[in-house]
């Protein structure tokens, strides 16, 4: 079985009202150190078979066309993250890096 995980996140320059509202709520609950919150989606897919390469292209397309809205969102796809931790690690790093980088681009 193949397991794929997709994280969809509002693009860095795009307003994220949901993140804002959640951030305000968290601050209200006493976490005064919170600077920012973003809310995205987490999608898990299970597919039959083992041939990761055979489905990778299809899954990328699905991420682009269905699971995310490229106009306002970015996504990270990880396939078989359990066996292949580097994938998930890379995703995490990518996600983590984006924000400061985005800010740098802007400045």
């Amino acid at each position: 079985m193949i397991r794929a995980q997709v994280i969809v996140r509002p693009r860095a320059s795009i307003f994220d009202p949901q993140g804002d509202a959640v951030g305000r709520a968290i601050q209200h609950l006493g976490v005064s150190k919170l600077k920012q919150a973003h809310v995205g989606k987490f999608i898990e897919l299970e597919l039959e078979g083992d041939d990761v390469e055979a489905v990778r292209g299809q899954l990328e397309t699905i991420c682009k066309d269905l699971l995310s809205n490229p106009v306002i969102e970015d996504y990270v796809l990880t396939i078989n993250g359990k066996e292949d931790l580097t994938g998930l690690a890379a995703s995490a790093a990518k996600l983590a890096k984006r924000s400061p980088k985005a800010k740098k681009e802007k400045a």
Binding site: S13, P17, D20, A21, N69, V71, K106, A107
Partner: protein
């Protein structure tokens, strides 16, 4: 960060011509800096300045005894509805943003029109919309894209309206290949206010503080007004940073906070929403209206993202923001109210008396422009207009080459077309009942909404938006005239008399003389219609550059009319109400097939001249229906529009909740049965009444110069039509099967 050097390329990229740039230099008496050029470019975009259409708009009648705020004066016009109450309403487009990102584009369109209304001091009480897409049927080109656009737009409208709690009570949706790649999203909002509480958008009183309230400013929607003032091209997707994301939650807070603030007239001088061109537009327009100046410091503007440049801050189109001019000494009133609503509220500047819009950043002046010249003295262009070369050819219709289709079959097919099918799939996604005012829900000729004017005191408003763009495409002036007539007719059917009109002019690139001709003729048609019905235009919107690489859209001058129903007893439904009621046809039996739905859908022909319209006859018909309604003798009334007589009868049977059949006898002479049953001749309606009244009503109508005849009787499970004449025909349709076809069609295309 250094501003880019102003090069001819950069000027062109901002949509400014060499002459316009020269004019900027003449106004400033120097070279503009980058920020100033950006400011001019958005204020002088078509979207903000109407530079290509303003001269045309002057043709509209805009005055009348009920007009309290005229078109163009403020964010929306205001009409007196009596007893100290007024209504503010307006229509606005969000076509290009919706083409790029349908959900957010449509949602922020709703947000924008709501702000235009509550800036006037009015509480928004209902919304409507007028939408156009390419065809969504599976066998049509681009169907999948069109379905995605439709679903996105509908959920965007639903999201914003539902969340803020303003009911969406009506609208219209049509489909045509000309909208492939360039859908139309026109949204309408109406609000109510006490006539002595109208807010103005003027900055007066030197030294008065200028407050910024609402959402923080980010980089979203940079230069959206400029984006709306360009053709949509393949590259439009690269314009994605222009996508604005709306937050109806914040808007709801902003709405309530503003209405609370307006209860303190001693503290408020003026208020202006930040819509297109955001801070730029709101500062220079309030200064211009106030014959004053304004000075703000961008460092004081609440910002969402760090490091925004003055250019970005001034041109940002972040949503849910307002500018409020407060009377000096009353600062605490506003800060307290916005604190209560947990909204950002910042003192960003002062009113001055030197006529300048002066923008500072941490004290350093970054822009200094004469406000009046920026806001009101954009260049005006008289564009060339040429009648489209192929129009005469497209109007030609040779009926002898068109075979008569099987009538029984045709009715089912027409009811299943996306244009005619029930729009339930759409409107049940809209909260159309919140605020406990919706008396007539979507699915009737016009929406009827009651508005409170005191303790258990109500006024009843009816409203409709309409435009048959096929007619306009085939004869613009007549088509626009019919749009006004049809909209007024829809109101008359509910028992309402029209008060005023708002319009949204959706056209292609005005630099093309053929497109401009369509605009010019349409404005003539709308103006003539308004004069005929004696209703002023109280505001509207112009959206040009609606075209995809395949060409311009069908010209679509959408109109929205608001009317008033004198007494709750006069509110009349569209659909059959009781078995045994007599059905009366008002108006002539016509046989005009030009530009009809029947020709389009059954024969694939988009041609012919639209049906003729006799304004005098149309008005007489409305007056007659209203007076019969007031007599209490009309049980239901429905106008004849797309699909003609047979479709109207079917709609009376399958619409609403009762689903009653009818037996119709037509002993009339006609030349073609299809033209007779599906022709779209104007100024017609079907009404029902108690059977014993039928002949008296027909006589009354004829007395008023309105042709009328009894057609048959309501009842049974079938729609039966007997046509006598040289070759008698008899047709019957099962009402529940017709209902099924009509009710399920959109679901079947969209699921």
């Amino acid at each position: 960060m250094l501003d880019p050097v102003i090069t001819p390329e950069l000027i062109a990229k901002h949509g400014l011509t060499t002459e316009e740039f020269q004019r900027i230099k003449d106004i400033l008496k120097r070279e503009p800096n980058f920020t100033e050029m950006g400011i001019f470019s958005v204020m002088w975009s078509e979207h903000c300045s109407y530079k290509n259409s303003r001269l045309e708009l002057r043709k509209f009648p805009t005055t009348g005894p009920r007009v309290l705020v005229k078109a163009g004066e403020e964010n929306a016009g205001v009409i007196d509805i009596g007893d100290g109450w007024g209504v503010a309403f307006k229509m606005e487009s969000h076509n290009h943003p919706s083409a790029v990102e349908p959900f957010q584009g449509a949602a922020t369109g709703v947000g924008g029109i709501l702000r235009d209304i509550f800036t006037m001091g009015a509480r928004p009480v209902f919304l409507m919309n007028s939408l156009r897409f390419g065809d969504i049927r599976p066998d049509k080109p681009n169907a999948a894209t069109n379905r995605r656009l439709l679903s996105g737009v509908v959920s965007g409208i639903a999201h914003y309206g539902n969340c803020i709690g303003v009911p969406t009570v009506g609208g219209e949706i049509y489909f045509d290949a000309s909208y492939d790649g360039n859908p139309l999203v026109n949204v309408f909002c109406l609000g109510t206010l006490k006539t002595n509480e109208i807010q103005r958008g003027a900055a007066t009183g030197v030294g008065n503080p200028v407050f910024y309230v609402g959402a923080r400013t980010g980089r979203d929607g940079l230069a959206g007004a400029a984006f709306a003032s360009r053709d949509l091209t393949e590259d439009s997707k690269a314009d994605r940073p222009a996508v604005q994301v709306g937050d109806p939650f914040i808007e709801k807070l902003l709405l309530e906070a503003c209405l609370e603030l307006f209860q303190h007239p001693e503290a408020i001088v003026g208020v202006q929403d930040m819509g297109a061109a955001g801070l730029t537009c709101s500062t220079c327009e309030t200064a211009s209206r106030g014959n004053s100046g304004i000075e703000i410091d961008l460092a004081l503007v609440p910002q969402r993202e760090p490091g925004m440049t003055p250019y970005e801050t001034m041109l940002s189109e972040s949503q849910e923001r307002m500018l409020v001019i407060v009377r000096a000494g009353h600062e605490a009133t506003i800060t307290k109210i916005f604190e209560k609503w947990d909204l950002p509220c910042a003192l960003i500047g002062r009113v001055t008396d030197d006529g300048f819009m002066r923008v500072k950043n941490h004290g350093a002046t970054v822009a200094e422009i004469p406000a009046k010249q920026l806001a009101d003295e954009a260049p005006l262009y008289k564009r060339e207009a040429t009648r489209p070369a192929d129009l005469d050819e497209r109007q030609k219709l040779d009926l002898t080459s068109i075979p008569e289709a099987d009538i029984h079959d045709v009715l089912g097919k027409l009811l299943a077309t996306p244009d005619l099918a029930s729009k339930r799939w759409v409107y049940r996604q809209y909260d159309h009942m919140v605020r406990v005012g919706t008396v007539t829900a979507p699915g009737s000729d016009a929406a009827v909404v009651r508005i409170p004017t005191g303790e258990n005191a109500w006024k009843y408003l009816a409203a409709s938006v309409d435009c048959n763009a096929h007619y306009v495409a085939l004869e613009p002036k007549l088509g626009a005239l019919i749009a006004v007539a049809e909209c007024a007719r829809n109101l008359a059917m509910t028992g309402a008399e029209p008060l005023a009109l708002t319009d949204n002019l959706n056209f292609g690139n005005p630099h093309n003389p053929e497109n401009f001709y369509m605009l010019q003729q349409s404005v003539d048609g709308l103006a003539e219609g308004c004069r005929a019905f004696d209703i002023p235009v109280t505001g509207g919107n112009v959206s040009l550059y609606n075209q995809s690489p395949a060409g311009p859209i069908d010209p679509t001058p959408t109109v929205g009319i608001v009317g008033i129903i004198r007494d709750v007893k006069h509110i009349t439904p569209s659909h059959f109400q009781n078995s045994g009621d007599a059905i009366i046809l008002i108006g002539d039996i016509g046989e005009e097939l030009g530009a009809s739905l029947y020709l389009r859908e059954i024969h694939g022909l988009k041609r012919g001249r639209p049906p003729e319209l006799n304004l005098d006859r149309e008005k007489k018909m409305h007056d007659a229906v209203r007076s019969l309604i007031r007599l209490g003798e009309i049980r239901s009334a429905h106008d004849l529009a797309e699909g003609g007589l047979l479709v109207a009868l079917a709609e009376c049977a399958i619409g609403g909740t009762k689903h009653l059949g009818a037996t119709i006898t037509l002993d009339l002479s006609y030349s073609r049965l299809d033209a007779f049953l599906f022709g779209e001749s104007q100024s017609r309606a079907t009404i029902t009444t108690r059977p014993e009244n039928a002949s008296a009503l027909v006589a009354l109508l004829e007395l008023r110069g309105v042709p009328a005849r009894r057609l048959g009787t309501v009842g049974g499970n079938e729609l039966k039509v007997q046509v006598s004449g040289p070759t008698p025909h008899e047709f019957s349709w099962d009402v529940s099967s017709l209902h099924q076809i009509w009710n399920g069609a959109l679901d079947s295309y969209l699921s």
